[in-house]
Subunit: 200 residues, 2 copies
Amino acid sequence: MSQPAPEPTSLVERKQRVVRQRIVVAANELFHARGFDDVSVSDIAAHADVGRTTFFRYFGDKSEVLFEKEREMLDAILRAAEDASVPTARTATEAVGQLRPIVLDLCARATADPEGYARRSLLLEQHPDLRARDAVKQQQMSDRLTEVLVGRGTDEGTAVLAAQIALACYQTARRRTQTAGVLTDAARAAFEQALALGTA
Amino acid sequence: MSQPAPEPTSLVERKQRVVRQRIVVAANELFHARGFDDVSVSDIAAHADVGRTTFFRYFGDKSEVLFEKEREMLDAILRAAEDASVPTARTATEAVGQLRPIVLDLCARATADPEGYARRSLLLEQHPDLRARDAVKQQQMSDRLTEVLVGRGTDEGTAVLAAQIALACYQTARRRTQTAGVLTDAARAAFEQALALGTA
């Protein structure tokens, strides 16, 4: 399921992407070397060889750099929504089934760099503010998943439930394992259990 | 299911409870009259006729006053956990079934004051910081629900999934309706759908 992000079309977009990526790499290097608290936006900008103004053109604050993956994930959900070949999910079970490959794809993206994933998990553990932002991003993700289903014709009530169930499976996987390599499998198992809830 | 909070045992506890409640009422009155942003901790303390030091003995900041309901809800979950008569849930379905009455009880508590609930919902809509804190409280709630199940002997993997599914049902209800009076019914319907996922 994991597709690379589509190539940006214009030279400007390609350049923006390079700068954004440079900031992300620079920030992660500094967070890793000095600790999150001891790194300022100015440090990151200097290390990425850009100005502070440029930094703020891409990110609202230094924490936001840590959620670049989530931004990519939200974009990936939008692209999944554009696939017009998927029929309307008529039941909650069908709707959860449609969200499953999207969420498994997100798990694969989130853990593509296992070391980065582990470092980030540790940062979230240590910083309540980052956990709060993460929690908000998760809810944004479920709202986006709801939109995908509604866009395909599923009624909103069913879509809301299915998106929250899909998020529950993702959160379950994150809680069941700290190991990047098995996150996707853990999410797959959670979906299987959720989709068998009425039967056992 | 909705039980009143048990009576505090000592005079000190009763007094603390009165002061806490006075601060909550004072804060809500001021937030309603002037808007959340234009009310300081000093304003709240003065209106509640306590000192700032006393305020901070009970609440970390002015936002925390808005999550008094959540604190009560976490306490209620703890009390539910103490009911030793409940057998071990052996499957995810049984586990979700055990969490259902607890979550429905929480919905009833959260909406016991419909006007307060509506005002608070509006505040959350307007303030991203409050939404972030709310999202964290929700995850704390699901962690507490996990503990309830584990305490009764359910294996942790099943407990984590069941708690996340229960949270998903609660979140679904909150998204499906803005009307306090029907939140509990909406949550009941969400649980029914979730517990029928394998059958449709």
